[in-house]
């Protein structure tokens, strides 16, 4: 297996394999998080009622609700806060907008919805055959997934602390400096 190295691809869009591994890690975390959450609820209830903690037996609707909330916020929260879930952090990925800014909550929500709607149908196939490395949920939510390691170890870092405004100004500046080193809109050299 040969190809560009890890340093070369920093800041570029991530491919199918890396994203798949990150998603597998995240899915495992969600699977573990659900029983852990219920166990923690049982522990708190036991402590409050001075009884032996037991794994709670929930009604079906409550079960589904808690499961859905964990599944939703595990992905949407990190995407909208710092752009990476646990699996994506481990694999050195980050979800950013097309302007390389932090994604809005609505973008993250749309991305999550489409991701799971197409997860077992066309989503993976679409990404594998995409020449631009954009999946359906990337296109519909106007996001992209890039390789990006921890800021202190990477040459290109996306400035996620700046506001969502003035994207056009940065984009224009980036377009004007096409021959310049990889200074990207909203990015800083570190």
């Amino acid at each position: 297996v040969s190809g560009p190295g890890l340093e070369e691809v920093q800041g570029h869009r991530a491919g199918f394999v890396t994203r798949g591994v990150a998603f597998a890690i995240d899915f495992f975390c969600v699977l573990v998080a659900y029983p852990l959450t219920l166990w923690a609820i049982g522990l708190v209830m036991g402590i409050m009622e001075f009884t032996r903690p037991e794994y709670p037996e929930l009604d079906a609707w409550l079960d589904v609700t808690i499961h859905s909330m964990i599944l939703f916020w595990y992905f949407v929260g990190p995407w909208s806060l710092n752009g990476r879930t646990l699996g994506q952090g481990l694999m050195g990925l980050r979800v950013v907008g097309r302007a390389r800014r932090r994604v809005y909550v609505w973008q993250a929500a749309v991305r999550w919805l489409v991701l799971f709607a197409t997860l077992f149908v066309v989503g993976p196939v679409w990404l594998a055959f995409s020449g631009k490395r954009l999946a359906i949920h990337d296109r519909l939510s106007r996001t992209q997934v890039i390789y990006e390691r921890a800021p202190r170890r990477t040459a290109v870092s996306v400035d996620l602390h700046s506001s969502h405004e003035h994207v056009g100004d940065h984009a224009a500046a980036g377009a004007a400096g096409a021959a310049a080193p990889p200074v990207v809109p909203g990015a800083t050299l570190v």
Binding site: G3, G15, V21, A128
Partner: protein
């Protein structure tokens, strides 16, 4: 069984002669004779019979009858003593007359003989009845009836077990409820503050401390402890441990980072490989790496 009587007990080596009142046997008059009290000098009592083998019907009956007899004798003695003490005019320490004691012992002897006879008859009867009953019960004509009876007995046993379980549960619940009710009541009614106040008021702690300190000479102890402590060595050990911990942490962190970077590197290579394979399959020209995020330079299009 050779050497055993009809109850299965081993025969005594020399059968004691059963003498009637006043009759004197031809053999040695002291042979096999139990020690007798003066009141029973006229009664020839057979030698004590060794106990029957444990687990047999005879042994069980013998043990039970002797237990009851012993208890009755003890109780009777106690009641007699109380009556003698309480009865007006009765001389203190007066015993029952010899004739009464002799009569009682004769009655006990008769009862023991009757018991042995009854046990022997029962044993002999059971020896016959049990095989006959087993034969009859297991005979083909009676098998359906036997099955019904066994089934009924099984049901009854099952119900008995269930009742036992329920009774245990009820008892446990009752116990828990009793403790649950009793403990709060006790804790509510138990006021420890007066006790503590009383104890504290009785103790003069400053005086106690002053007295202890006055009687103890701590300086030699402190000097000895400090003299035996190697403070320099302890500080050096602690500092060494801290340095070692930081080295281990640095090494572990670096190793983890290297592993993660290796995995990422391989996954990036796998991404490129997959992209080349897909490009060959769909006969697409493999594009160079997309530019690093220039949104204006990225026209939207088909995947």
């Amino acid at each position: 069984v050779p050497g055993a009587d009809r109850l299965g007990r081993p025969r005594p080596p020399e059968p004691a002669p059963r003498a009637s009142m006043g009759a004197v046997p031809d053999q040695d008059p002291d042979a096999g004779r139990a020690p007798t009290s003066p009141s029973t000098a006229l009664v020839a009592v057979p030698a004590p019979v060794p106990p029957a083998p444990a687990g047999t019907l005879a042994a069980t009956v013998e043990y039970a009858s002797r237990t009851v007899l012993g208890a009755a004798l003890l109780l009777g003695g106690a009641v007699g003593a109380v009556v003698r003490q309480a009865a007006p005019g009765a001389p203190p320490g007066a015993e029952a007359t010899d004739a009464l004691v002799a009569t009682r012992q004769v009655a006990l002897g008769v009862a023991a003989g009757a018991r042995d006879t009854a046990v022997a008859a029962t044993t002999r009867g059971l020896d016959v009845a049990v095989p006959v009953t087993r034969f009859v019960v297991t005979s083909p004509p009676l098998r359906p009836l036997t099955r019904v009876v066994v089934r009924r007995l099984g049901h009854l046993a099952e119900r008995g077990r269930a009742e036992e379980d329920q009774a245990r549960q009820v008892a446990a619940r009752t116990g828990e409820q009793t403790v649950g009710m009793a403990v709060p009541v006790v804790l509510d009614n138990l006021d420890l503050e007066p006790v503590v106040d009383r104890v504290l008021s009785e103790i003069d702690l400053p005086a106690l401390v002053e007295r202890v300190m006055g009687e103890m000479d701590l300086e030699p102890i402190v000097d000895k402890v400090i003299g035996q402590l190697d403070l320099g060595g302890i500080v050096e050990d602690v500092m060494g441990d801290i340095r070692m911990s930081s080295v281990v942490l640095d090494a572990t962190g670096g190793l983890t980072t290297d592993i993660v970077d290796e995995v990422r590197d391989r996954s990036v290579a796998a991404d490129s490989l997959l992209e080349r394979v897909v490009a060959k399959v769909v006969r697409r020209k493999l594009a160079p790496l997309p530019p690093v995020g220039l949104p204006a330079a990225e026209p939207e299009g088909r995947p």
